[in-house]
């Protein structure tokens, strides 16, 4: 009953967001004043809202994706549905807050509430160890980054003497403060959007329910980072050093995460890494510092939202219907195309999604990625190093993306022609598994509550590329397409041979987790022990020693009470002499 109410509220809220986006589209940018507060003479902040094109765009994305997710969840999730739906709604609301905020603090509220919602939702299956640790990791890493974000707000807010986003960027500020502030904000963004070096939480967040993953990866949370830089673009453009840092971070991230995606053996993990990679492409676009770049990045944000939400929801279907999204498990069901045949809608929509992700010409991802490449090319042509770096990285990433998309598609839905046990084949892939065929008879499509969103998003993934007005730079298109083909061919070839080589360094995802474990978690444990020991044995020791000294002194004085009056007299005489000596010392 409560769950139903929350579901209605959730879907209703999402629809409301869409409605707001529709109503606001095309309206002049405006701000709504709300009461604020402050401390002291010159720190004052309000809770103002603002609407402009960017807001509308994000509202639309958030509304659609969350509506899809909410509807999908009705079919997907049954246990603890009330709290789940409530949190998803809150999550959406938080993202909406971020999008419409004109106050850095209001934005921060939304920003961090998202973090908490993601924490709680990732930990939805708290019975599972990986869910618990993934949730905790996600929250702590983003929280760490948010400290930087908070300090960035301080620096910029005090520097510009306002915490109103629309007023930032106007007014004098020292270059040092500007750079420091933007870099600190960038720290927050890096954490939220899982960029290098804080990227490891996102893949580990996969134990959460799939619809939540879709929400996090497509419309909220990670997208907030991109949104923030787009929102504060005026400020960031001023700070060249920051943009350089952003470009480097983005380029490294997109390659690293694409490489990681190539070695992941679980559908959701591949998708998670691909999200990191795609977000990096958006950041790369933003880091160009040009209006084209920003536009391209936002375009990619929108298309990415549609196909990534689609892909995660598809993965959710696999999880829901098959029970696992690991390649190992899925492969058993792929024999004789069972999976494909039993779930045609899922297959088709997922294929569209992967195509869009890989940049198959004509699908949404193709256009948006090309626009980034094109913007980079234009920038590079103007003699910018950043432009070249971005250009090369994105192109390389395109090839890698194609590789892992194809790999995913093939290994999930198609049977390997070759025998099992080839190079790098899945270790626990037992050759005898061929013998006991899993029961595929019960495989079927899920209810239309879940398929509906898939179809809707698939339409988006296919068609959104044309929404921006078809504009193709043929040279760029040719290059990226060729690169994609170059990426796809090895994947096909390997699959055909039944081989899946996964270098150790990629399987370990560059060892960053272990490094963090050694550099942060272990020392913290040590220090915790040290703190407790210090309290117990040092500070407490002093206190205890004081108490014991008091007791001992008490005993000592009692021992002096021998009951012999002559002892008392002797003590007194000694006392007199001592006082006399003391007095002599004082007097002289």
């Amino acid at each position: 009953m409560i769950a139903t109410t929350w579901r209605v509220v959730g879907v209703g809220f999402s629809l409301l967001v869409i409605l707001a986006a529709i109503l606001l589209s095309g309206v002049e940018p405006q701000q709504t004043s709300f009461p604020g507060t402050g401390v002291g003479p010159d720190v004052f902040w309000t809770f103002d809202l603002r609407t402009d094109d960017l807001t509308v765009l994000l509202l639309a994305v958030v509304g659609v994706v969350s509506a899809c997710v909410q509807v999908y969840s009705i079919g997907y999730l049954h246990e603890r549905a009330a709290s789940y739906t409530a949190l998803v709604t809150l999550f959406t609301a938080a993202m909406v807050t971020v999008v419409v905020a004109d106050s850095l603090f209001l934005l921060l509220i939304g920003w961090e509430v998202m973090g908490v919602c993601s924490y709680l939702l990732i930990g939805h299956y708290w019975e599972r160890r990986d869910a618990r640790s993934g949730a905790m990791k996600a929250f702590l890493m983003t929280r760490f980054a948010d400290v930087g974000f908070l300090f960035g707000i301080f620096v910029l807010g005090i520097g510009y003497n306002t915490f109103r986003i629309s007023e930032l960027g106007s007014g004098p500020i020292s270059p040092g403060a500007l750079t420091a502030g933007t870099v600190l904000l960038l720290v927050g963004v890096v954490g939220k959007s899982a960029q290098v070096p804080l990227q490891t939480w996102l893949p580990d967040a996969m134990p959460g329910p799939s619809p939540v993953s879709a929400l996090i990866h497509a419309a909220t949370m990670v997208a907030a980072g991109v949104f923030l830089i787009a929102r504060l673009y005026d400020v960031f453009v001023e700070a060249e050093a920051t943009l350089t840092v952003l470009a480097v971070v983005a380029c490294v991230t997109m390659l690293v995460s694409a490489l990681c995606a190539m070695a992941a053996v679980e559908v959701k993990r591949v998708l998670a890494w691909s999200t990191v990679s795609q977000l990096a492409i958006m950041f790369a676009g933003l880091s160009l510092g040009t209006e084209d770049g920003r536009h391209a990045a936002l375009f990619h944000l929108v298309t990415h939202a549609s196909f990534k939400a689609l892909l995660f929801l598809c993965a959710g279907v696999l999880l829901h219907q098959v029970g696992s999204a690991a390649f190992v498990v899925l492969r058993r069901y792929t024999r004789r195309g069972a999976l494909r045949r039993a779930m045609p809608v899922t297959f088709v929509t997922m294929t569209i999604g992967l195509g869009a992700l890989a940049g198959v010409p004509g699908l949404a991802g193709f256009f948006s990625k090309d626009s980034v490449v094109e913007a980079a090319w234009h920038h590079a042509r103007d003699g910018s190093t950043i432009g070249w770096v971005v250009l090369v990285s994105v192109c390389l990433t395109a090839a890698l993306t194609a590789f892992y998309c194809v790999r995913l598609w093939l290994w999930t839905f198609f049977r390997t022609p070759a025998l099992a046990g080839a190079l790098g084949a899945f270790e626990d892939d037992d050759p005898m598994a061929d013998v006991d065929e899993p029961d595929t008879s019960k495989l079927r499509e899920p209810s239309w509550l879940m398929l509906g969103p898939l179809v809707l998003l698939a339409i988006g993934a296919a068609g959104l590329g044309y929404a921006d007005g078809v504009h193709v730079h043929w040279g760029v298109a040719l290059v990226t397409t060729v690169l994609a083909v170059f990426g796809a061919l090895p994947a096909y070839s390997l699959w055909q041979r039944g081989a899946d080589p996964r270098p150790v360094v990629l399987e370990h995802e560059f060892g960053l987790d272990a490094a963090y474990q050694g550099a942060v978690v272990v020392p913290v444990r040590w220090f915790a022990k040290l703190a407790v020991l210090g309290d117990r044995d040092v500070i407490g020791g002093y206190v205890r020693a004081t108490g014991r000294a008091g007791t001992l002194a008490s005993q000592g004085f009692r021992l002096l009470q021998t009951g012999n009056v002559q002892t008392y007299l002797t003590a007194a005489v000694i006392g007199v002499v001592a006082l006399a000596v003391l007095a002599g010392v004082i007097a002289s």
């Binding site: 009461p35 604020g36 507060t37 402050g38 401390v39 002291g40 003479p41 720190v43 004052f44 709290s83 603090f105 921060l108 509220i109 920003w111 961090e112 509430v113 908490v116 924490y119 709680l120 930990g123 708290w126 019975e127 618990r132 640790s133 905790m136 929250f139 702590l140 929280r143 760490f144 400290v147 908070l150 300090f151 301080f154 620096v155 005090i158 913290v524 444990r525 220090f527 915790a528 022990k529 040290l530 703190a531 407790v532 210090g534 309290d535 500070i539 407490g540 206190v543």
Partner: protein
């Protein structure tokens, strides 16, 4: 002469007397009801006082807001509802009480927490019984705390500061952890002895102030602060700060706190953490800053340093705790560190932050201790290892509230815990002009990392207590999830945490320091 304020002071104390005079068996039965009614009245009275304060002098109209609130010197008293009577002329001590925008919110917090404790005691009392005395002592504590918050005379401040000691000692000693009689006695005695030493040291500081300025009156002292940052004023500032630091408690004087909180009964922990710690921070703001401004400047970096250490050390210690009440107690050390840091910055932001954090910490930690007490009552232990995991499955509502309170405590924006800590950090980013900025920037960064540590140990608590495989930890046979009285008691705390988190201007507007 303000009847209302005097009534707020006198009514709880007199009620306590009446309770003690009544025959035991009868009083034990009615104590909680009487306590709830009386403390409820006090709560109403304190809210009335606040409304009265906000109402502009020139007739009815809108309440004072941020734009119209007067700019005030930090910590200085701008008396309202003043009562000033001669008391002990030979010692230059007056019965001088008054309140202002700094103290009334704290008084309201006091009234609220005591009210909730009494309400809670309607149904849930420590096993040993003796409800009459428990309620009476709670009311005496209420008088002491409200008195401290409204004292204008330094000696009166000291006096009320000490009023709470013996009642709290009794509360811990009598109603504390029933499984560990020696431990609770030790904890109570350590608490009372360390605090009394602190307050005696603080008194020395007051006397030095008196020697220097010739008065104990905060109002006068606020207008004519003791000048000079060396010599006697410095000694006075150090002594006062030391005394208050014991109460607050600042690292390394916090050693009494974990034991006292862990051994105290639920209501005792709530009041100890929610109110008594605030006496220290309130004193720092009210006495140190306006009375000894220059000497405070001299010690502020050290105060800030120790506060920062408290944040880190308190948070780190939480990682290694196996007792849920101890863990929350240590978390208080960290949170009070933020308050200390805010005060040490001597900036408007830092001070407002400290004041806000005071209130927020009172609400949130009060809730946390209520929850810890509930969990302890249900499992008859507060040891995390014995309680087991998967509370989400066994006591879903309590567990949910615990998650909420933890999130609030770790400073989630949008809940009350955030604003205070944020402003303290902002204050450290831009401390008063007379302070070394680089030092405070370092403090800010370390304290910022402290927030991450705070988050980490709370998440660890949630993970180890609320989450886990329910199959391994079967439901206790007669464990009731969230009884009605608990719901009633905790709802105000939850609601206020959310309200203050979303609408910080409800308080911040009135702390408008220059």
């Amino acid at each position: 002469m303000s009847t209302l304020l005097i009534a707020l002071l006198a009514v709880p104390a007199l009620t306590a007397m009446v309770l003690w005079v009544l025959p035991v068996s009868f009083a034990d039965r009615v104590a909680a009801v009487v306590g709830s009614v009386i403390s409820g009245l006090v709560l109403v009275g304190s809210v009335w006082l606040w409304i009265d304060y906000l109402r502009p002098a020139d007739g009815p109209g809108t309440l004072v807001g941020f734009e119209t609130a007067p700019r005030t010197l930090p910590g200085k008293l701008y008396p309202f509802a003043e009562t000033d009577l001669e008391w002990i002329p030979p010692l230059d001590v007056r019965f001088h009480i008054a309140v202002d925008s700094i103290s009334i919110p704290l008084i309201m917090l006091t009234a609220l927490l005591v009210f909730l404790c009494c309400l809670y005691s309607l149904r849930i009392t420590p096993r040993i019984g003796r409800t009459r005395s428990l309620i009476a002592l709670l009311l005496v504590i209420e008088t002491g705390v409200i008195g401290t918050f409204s004292a204008v005379d330094l000696v009166l401040f000291f006096l009320f500061f000490e009023v709470v000691l013996i009642p709290m000692w009794l509360v811990i000693d009598i109603w504390g952890d029933e499984h560990d009689a020696a431990g609770r006695r030790r904890a109570a005695t350590t608490f009372v002895l360390m605090t009394v030493l602190g307050s005696a040291v603080m008194l020395l500081g007051f006397l030095l102030i008196h020697r220097q300025a010739g008065t104990f009156d905060l109002e006068v002292l606020g207008n004519n602060p003791v000048a000079g940052g060396r010599g006697v004023p410095l000694a006075a500032a150090i002594l006062v700060a030391l005394g208050l630091a014991v109460k607050m408690p600042l690292w390394p004087l916090h050693i009494w706190l974990p034991d006292a909180h862990a051994k105290a009964p639920t209501v005792g922990s709530v009041l100890l953490a929610g109110l008594l710690l605030k006496l220290g921070s309130y004193g720092l703001i009210r006495i140190l800053l306006p009375v000894l401004p220059e000497a405070t400047t001299t010690i502020a970096p050290y105060l800030g340093g120790f506060s920062t250490v408290a944040i880190i050390a308190g948070s780190l210690a939480c990682f290694a705790q196996t007792d849920v009440k101890r863990l929350i107690a240590y978390s208080s050390v960290g949170h009070m560190g933020f308050i200390g840091l805010g005060i040490a910055t001597m900036s408007p932001e830092g001070l407002s932050g400290a004041l806000f954090a005071n209130i927020a910490h009172g609400l949130i930690t009060g809730l946390l201790f209520f929850l810890a007490g509930a969990i302890k009552d249900r499992h008859d232990t507060s040891d995390l290892r014995t309680i087991g995991r998967a509370l989400n499955a066994r006591l879903p509502r309590i567990s949910g509230l615990l998650v909420f309170a933890s999130l609030a405590s770790l400073g989630l924006p949008g809940l009350a815990g955030f604003w205070g800590e944020m402003l303290a950090l902002l204050g450290a980013y831009r401390p008063a002009d007379s302070l070394p900025r680089t030092t405070f920037l370092v403090f800010m960064v370390i304290a910022g990392l402290g927030t991450v540590l705070t988050a980490a140990y709370f998440l660890r608590l949630i993970r180890n207590l609320c989450q886990g495989d329910p199959a391994e930890y079967p439901t206790t046979a007669f464990a009731v999830d969230l009884s009605r009285i608990e719901l009633l008691t905790w709802t105000p705390l939850v609601a206020l945490t959310v309200v203050l988190g979303l609408a910080p201007w409800l308080l911040l507007d009135y702390w408008n320091f220059v």
